[in-house]
Symmetry: C2
Subunit: 236 residues, 2 copies
């Protein structure tokens, strides 16, 4: 993996932080970015109770964030794909409150937060964009809130698939066919369902010719039907 790819060489810049920075200031942003070694599957980017000092832009691969409650059970709080920013929930506390773990081999750009704040003081569009990013997270969480409080298990799974599809498309990839980076367990946990339920729903969707599934490979065959169940915006 090339550790030295700068933002203006990066294929993700149209959807990542650089989109908020004028070309002649991009070098400034570039200078505060730190590109580390790739994370292997299962490796942590940060853990709850770690000092918060940076947010991270996903460059390749995928991560999940999860919290562990006092009773010890895990709650997956989000999935992060290339071009998305992870770690923003730690800003207010100086400590991370969730864990971030690689679902597959992943590379990230580390953005030291205090330097991002400094830079935002000088680049208004960057400040604005970052406010917008956080606002987006809040909105996505509100969508999820509705999903969990009102929608059936079918709707929840459908919504997640549509969300992932939209995010694929945003990166210029197929919105119909893609590979799920996460396990059935993670999907179930995220959506507040039992693994068995998720499995049964995948099978049922397949029988209805709504979806084609083979392990983690999926293809959306009937987008309308899927939309007809739950709706979830573009998220993140």
């Amino acid at each position: 993996m090339t550790r030295s790819v700068s933002c203006n060489q990066c294929s993700l810049s149209p959807i990542c932080l650089p989109l908020a920075v004028a070309p002649d200031q991009l070098e400034e942003l570039d200078r505060i970015m730190q590109r580390g070694r790739p994370l292997k599957r299962g490796e942590h980017l940060f853990r709850a109770a770690d000092d918060f000092h940076a947010v991270y832009a996903v460059r390749s691969g995928a991560l999940k964030t999860y919290a562990v409650s006092d009773d010890g059970d895990e709650q997956v709080t989000g999935f992060y794909l290339p071009g998305e920013i992870v770690g923003m929930d730690g800003i207010s506390t100086a400590r991370h409150l969730s864990n971030a773990k690689a679902l597959e081999t992943a590379t990230v750009c580390e953005i030291p937060f205090h330097r991002l704040e400094d830079l935002s003081q000088r680049i208004p569009s960057l400040q604005h964009h970052f406010f917008g990013l956080m606002s987006n997270e809040i909105r996505a969480d509100r969508e999820l809130h509705m999903l969990l409080s009102k929608k059936s298990a079918d709707d929840r799974v459908a919504s997640l698939l549509l969300s992932l599809a939209a995010r694929q498309q945003r990166r210029g990839l197929s919105a119909k066919r893609f590979r799920l980076p996460m396990s059935r367990y993670d999907i179930a946990n995220y959506l507040g369902l039992a693994v068995e339920t998720v499995s049964r729903i995948f099978t049922r969707f397949q029988q209805q010719k709504t979806l084609w599934v083979d392990g983690r490979e999926v293809e959306i065959l009937d987008r309308e039907t899927l939309c007809g169940s739950g709706r979830l915006g573009v998220e993140a």
Copy 2:
């Protein structure tokens, strides 16, 4: 209602935006704040699809935010008490995506967002604080995520009560006894439950001597037992 109370006269300043601004700069913040007439119960502060141009600090009373899905049903997404900021989910879209409605007579301070952004460019601590506020919303939403996905109906109600109690305390009021600003319907909707379930749980808590309830008046009698069920941090 005094429409002209400035931030430095306001009893909420220790927990509101002014806490991030040095005394000698407070006047600047004060100048961009706009204090409108009080909202009556049921009146809207803003509606989904309104242009987003400001966020609002609650000064007195209480509000709820809610979204309406395509199928027409309502989802309460949050409750906002004095000292809290409402409207941050609209930042990224230039339009509000939820509705904000007064649960009882309420007054708010309107903060035009572009002027807040300008001011944040000159007051780093204000920018930092605002990042922190948004981060807090994200964290609270993650707590809620766990609540809705893993916890029983009892736990959900207990968590909401504890959250409200903590927020009362933050304002220097009793953490044990207070008045619920929202109806059973709003509670049920927010927590993803049926009204009847909420009602039954209140009754059961009362029988167990965990809680005393009379309409919207509540008193927490046994905080330990309530904590023993669901846990939810301080939120917002």
